[in-house]
Amino acid sequence: MKYILPKHELNSLLERWSVGHAVLAPQKVGAYTEFLPFGAQSELCLEEPHNTRFPPKALFFPQSEAILKYKRNTGQLENIEVEPEKRIIFGIRPCDAKAVALLDTVFAEGENQDPFWLARRAETLLIGLGCHEPCATCFCTSADSGPFNTEGLDALLTDLGSEYMVELLSERAAGLFDGLAHASPAQQKSAQTAQTAAEHAMPKAFELDGLKDKLDRVFDEEIWAQLAQSCLGCGVCTFLCPTCFCFDLVDETQRDTRVRNWDTCMYRVYSLEASAHNPRPTRKERTRQRLMHKYSYWWDHAGKLGCTGCGRCVRYCPVGLDIRAMIRKAGAYESEVLHAN
């Protein structure tokens, strides 16, 4: 089902949704955008093509979250139940919605599903906004996604200038667009044109076909040391990554609470063992882990690439390391260096 939403009616639509839902939408905070609660005074930031700085995974898997309360002296436990409110996340970009769907394979499938993730997921609708003007750092089309990819979304908006075309994608979102006019064939066609143009505007960052095997074969090679040479090990690439999910469990002694915090494989202590042995002692091994996890191990775990091409790690790296170039170099290492002679 496809609808037309005139831009001047957007705010009243979000206001309507606000009855019964918390509506979160991208808004300017300083130089960046963030998903914040929508209110009468909110100024939405939908025109700028770039993404929020903080990945929306945080709306389901907060950077720091209590997972257990206990009484230190008696050992008495108090379970923490998550009772999330009904939410609509409006204006999420397709790369980030896909990342949420990817993280379902970690937290919501198989044994030992994560109750915190599941509870928030079940109560949240994702209304996406396609990217008619992708950034220079974006590479979703190379990463098995695209500027109008619908994975993980309940509805997708395409900007048509003075209006949006809304494509309804799930039953759960069915009531949200009641009362809107249906999109005419001409409007659907211009949406299609905008989508194709955006896809074509994005250069190929690397060839995904056969890449996993190429990376697997150079695991023991020196290329990783070269790629990691200018890395500071700050971890910003992993904290801002919408698909990174590693966490630490720590006891906050003063609050009698066990907390789950985001963690990063880019830090030395991440893999440091009690015996002082560290399987990833330098940034070479840690950089390799980060790239191999996304571009090789994800395929083994979930049958999918673990990167959606959102470009945050490229945009925010303080030394300008570009995952696209790193992947290109690692992928070409075998043929260009090892077999060059």
Binding site: S170, R258, S296
Partner: protein
Amino acid sequence: MPTNPSPRNPYQPTPMRVLRAYYESTDRSLKTLELSFENQADRVAFFQKFNPGQFCQLSVFGKGESPLGVASAAWEGDFVRFTIQRMGAVTKALHNLKPGDTLGMRGPLGNGFPLADWKGKNLVIIGGGCAFSTLYALTKHVQHPKNRPDFAQLVVIYGARSSGLCMYKHDIQSWYQRDDMEVHQAIDVPEETWDHHVGYVPDVVKQIAPSPVNAVAIVCGPPIMTKFTLPALVSLGFPPEAIYTSLEKRMKCGIGKCGRCNIGSKFICKDGPVFSLAELNALPADI
């Protein structure tokens, strides 16, 4: 899109109580805790799932969690045994626990030893240091009259740096009297009253030279011991499919979510900790 939002909190430990606590080593670096269940339902659930070679996350509330291998067999009683090397904040707090104290436990976690695949085989059990604890659980399991007929010969090779660091002393001493098993103990350097092997475990293994015929070898020890014992077994003729080891990594969740214990696409906590050498050879060298 997930729809069932109410599974059990997998990070919530079950309440346990210290039944017995005693030092294993003369330097007090190793302590054994035997824990009983506070709730019968937890006990039943634990023993339904338990297999030697598995581990648990022990919680001291206010300090954190530590992954530790189970050192007891199910038939030994309604308790779970752990031998803990004092290393950091959590293991220090575990050492300070006294009988009657409460703590938390999550588990059993991981795969454990593939006992069904080992039916009818000779078992060569090779351990070093405190990593012998899960092999102790395995030996105890095999020794039970009900389980013993499932396996052929049983050889245990156990090394420690010194006699003072040897664990489960009295019990292991009694194994020499058993006619259904062979025991070899070793320490690194000679001591006056020591009348067993002297030398590093890989060398002792070469010296004893267990036969690879219809046998599996199970190796648990510090990385350096494992590193040299695996090739020793290969040169004795053990195929990689018949050599098993149990790995350790820094772990947090124990259920394949927190991400940190991976080797390639395998998580030690979920897909291991027990792997055959053949399986390890197929993984990247990220150990």
